[in-house]
């Protein structure tokens, strides 16, 4: 029994690490734009499909296909930032919801038209089993954990110490004041948006080999989970995102392991409502950080 629980918790950590990478991008965008990108999960899907397409049609190895996915994601993010996110930064929130839902539908339809709507098998990645501290998992999972931790450390350093990071925190706190002191709001917004999207794309490309089967609607749930994680963490809290993502991943595997897969998708929902009701600033919000 105990080993079973331990096993589920380890599984949950692996799942949570994937969520963390996608969710921190959404947090970054929400912090700076005060807008939720409903197409966030679809960029995660785009990352997986772009990597798959690069391997299948260009015949390049998996490692290079991650870079190809990032390039595709970067281009899409720049277009979306310039023509949709930036013009809507100060519009009523419903416009941002409807527009990003439109992007979500468009991306899914575009991928379906190009690749077909059926499940695709993602063959590739580094799939040898490695034993670290008695935990056996495929290399790809360890890679995901390594990349996620590296990204979080880098983000923390950038947001806290770099000029661009300080500008992001400033824009998150007060757009008007930033305009007064001459911060290029548009550039900060675009940087944060493109960076946030790239992290979603990266998580999709890294999770492809682990998920094995990928499909155009695979990102829908991720958008919701990333939002739940952002809220649970407290907006603008980088390490809180990591902790919340791990908590969600562990809770999900425990629920599906011991109560039933029927309720797996309800975990994020219940956690989101509970946190919004009783701790609306999030579990780990010491102070708004950026």
């Amino acid at each position: 029994m105990l080993t079973l629980v331990a096993e589920q918790i380890v599984n949950g950590v692996f799942v949570g690490m994937g969520y963390a990478l996608a969710a921190v991008g959404l947090t970054l965008i929400f912090g700076v734009l005060r807008a939720i990108n409903f197409a966030h999960g679809d960029f995660y899907m785009l990352g997986a499909f772009a990597a798959w397409a690069a391997m299948t049609y260009l015949g390049i190895p998996y490692g290079a296909s991650i870079l190809a996915a990032l390039a595709v994601g970067l281009a899409a993010a720049l277009i979306m930032s310039r023509f949709i996110a930036e013009p809507l930064a100060e519009a009523p929130f419903q416009n941002a919801v409807l527009a990003t839902l439109g992007v979500s539908l468009t991306l899914q339809a575009a991928v379906t038209l190009l690749a077909g709507g059926t499940f695709k098998e993602f063959t590739g990645g580094w799939m040898d089993v490695v034993d670290i501290w008695g935990i056996r998992a495929v290399e790809q999972r360890w890679l995901l954990i390594g990349v996620t931790i590296a990204v979080f450390v880098a983000l923390e350093l950038v947001v806290r110490y770099s000029r661009a990071g300080k500008a992001m925190r400033a824009v998150a706190q007060n757009r008007e004041a930033c305009r007064v002191v001459g911060i290029d709001i548009q550039r900060v917004t675009r940087t944060a948006f493109v960076l946030g999207i790239s992290l979603a794309v990266l998580s999709g490309a890294l999770l492809g080999p682990i998920l094995v089967s990928i499909y155009p609607a695979m990102g829908e749930g991720i958008t919701f989970k990333a939002f739940a994680i952002t809220v649970i963490a407290g907006v603008g809290n980088v390490w809180g995102v990591m902790l919340s993502a791990l908590l969600l991943g562990i809770a999900e595997t425990l629920v599906s392991g011991f109560i039933g897969t029927t309720f797996r998708e309800a975990v994020g929902f219940v956690a989101l409502i509970a946190v919004l009701m009783w701790k609306p600033l999030g579990l780990f919000a010491v102070r708004a950080r950026y």
């Binding site: 992007v103 339809a109 998708e265």
Partner: protein
């Protein structure tokens, strides 16, 4: 505004509008005499989708709350309707209200916590609810039969015993769907014209001001949410009785977004706009035999175009255009007289 409210004397525009509505009803009544089977099928589908779209219009167009849960209530109604038809074999006039009621009760349970949230949190909660419903429909195999779905749902009947006054011919379905759509329209119209409907609009315009006038915004939001789910559930049950199959695919986000594009593009907060939206986004793509993914692409681009170009929707924009044309013609006439 023409026909602004009860008590105002009918103006010229009202008679023109009434004549237009009667003409549309007459054409729709006569449709089976000249339309082919495929076109009848399209008309039935449009009339079925009209229900959930009206429901979404109530919560979004009149109360100003953007809910993505409408597809879930549609799906719940479809499953409840299907299960009743398979296991209990109730007549349709009992099945539909039952399915609507179940959806409405679930909406109350979800609405009590969710409606305390605002903006993104509310939208996300309604989105999360769709995923939960999808997951339950896939995994609660003993009731829903999982991914296989409920198939072989018996044809609906109107008599007292199973099978009596059964509806199975396409024309029968058409007149059934038409009657129900007309009934739904009438009920919806009565709701939004009632004092409660005016209170809802007041909440949408300015919540704090409405509350200072003694309108309990929270209660109206909850009742509006339940009513929107009722419409969604009834629509779902009609859908199940027509398609005779329900599967977890009913909970795809596609349906929620279809209802949203109908309401948003047609003109949120209007009835004619929603009818127009149903024609443009259900009947037209179906008539053009557009593939599902192409349709999805067009819906997605429609959202983008609307947000940036026509935030009021197509219906109100057309109405504005028509009014401008009428005044232009009048001016020309009075110039000619001079």
């Amino acid at each position: 505004m023409a026909g602004a409210g009860p008590g105002t004397r009918p103006g010229k525009g009202d008679f023109a509008r009434l004549a237009a509505i009667l003409a549309i009803i007459a054409v729709l009544l006569a449709l089976p005499t000249f339309a082919g089977r495929y076109h009848l099928h399209i008309a039935i589908l449009s009339m079925i989708y009209f229900y959930p779209a009206l429901g979404l219009n109530l919560i979004y167009g009149y109360l100003g709350m953007l809910s993505l849960a409408q597809g879930a209530f549609f799906g719940i109604g479809a499953y409840v309707g299907g299960l009743i038809a398979v296991h209990l074999q109730w007549p349709l006039w009992l099945t539909l209200p039952a399915a609507g009621l179940v959806s409405a009760v679930i909406a109350l349970a979800v609405g009590v916590p969710a409606l305390r949230l605002r903006n993104y949190s509310f939208v996300m909660c309604t989105l999360g609810f769709v995923f939960i419903c999808e997951s339950i429909s896939k995994n609660w195999v003993s009731v829903t039969r999982g991914d296989m779905g409920l198939s072989g749902i018996p044809r609906p009947f109107l008599g007292l015993t199973p099978g009596s006054m059964q509806i199975s011919a396409l024309t029968g379905y058409y007149y059934l769907a038409f009657t129900l759509a007309l009934l739904g329209l009438l009920i919806f119209w009565l709701i939004v014209r009632s004092p409660a409907g005016r209170a809802m609009r007041a909440i949408k315009e300015e919540e704090v001001l409405a509350e200072s006038q003694g309108i309990d915004a929270g209660r109206y939001a909850l009742v509006g949410f339940a009513l929107s789910a009722l419409f969604g559930g009834v629509g779902g049950a009609i859908y199940a009785s027509y398609m005779t199959i329900v599967s977890p695919l009913t909970f795809q986000l596609y349906y929620t977004l279809l209802f949203l594009v109908i309401v948003f593009a047609g003109g949120a907060g209007t009835i004619g706009g929603v009818a127009l939206g149903t024609v443009v986004f259900v009947a037209l793509p179906e008539a053009l035999r557009m593939a599902a993914d192409l349709r999805q692409l067009i819906y997605g681009l429609t959202f983008l175009v609307l947000v940036f170009v026509l935030p009021q929707g197509i219906g109100p924009a057309l109405a504005r255009l028509a009014r401008r044309a009428v005044t232009a013609v009048r001016r020309q006439r009075s110039d000619a007289v001079d």
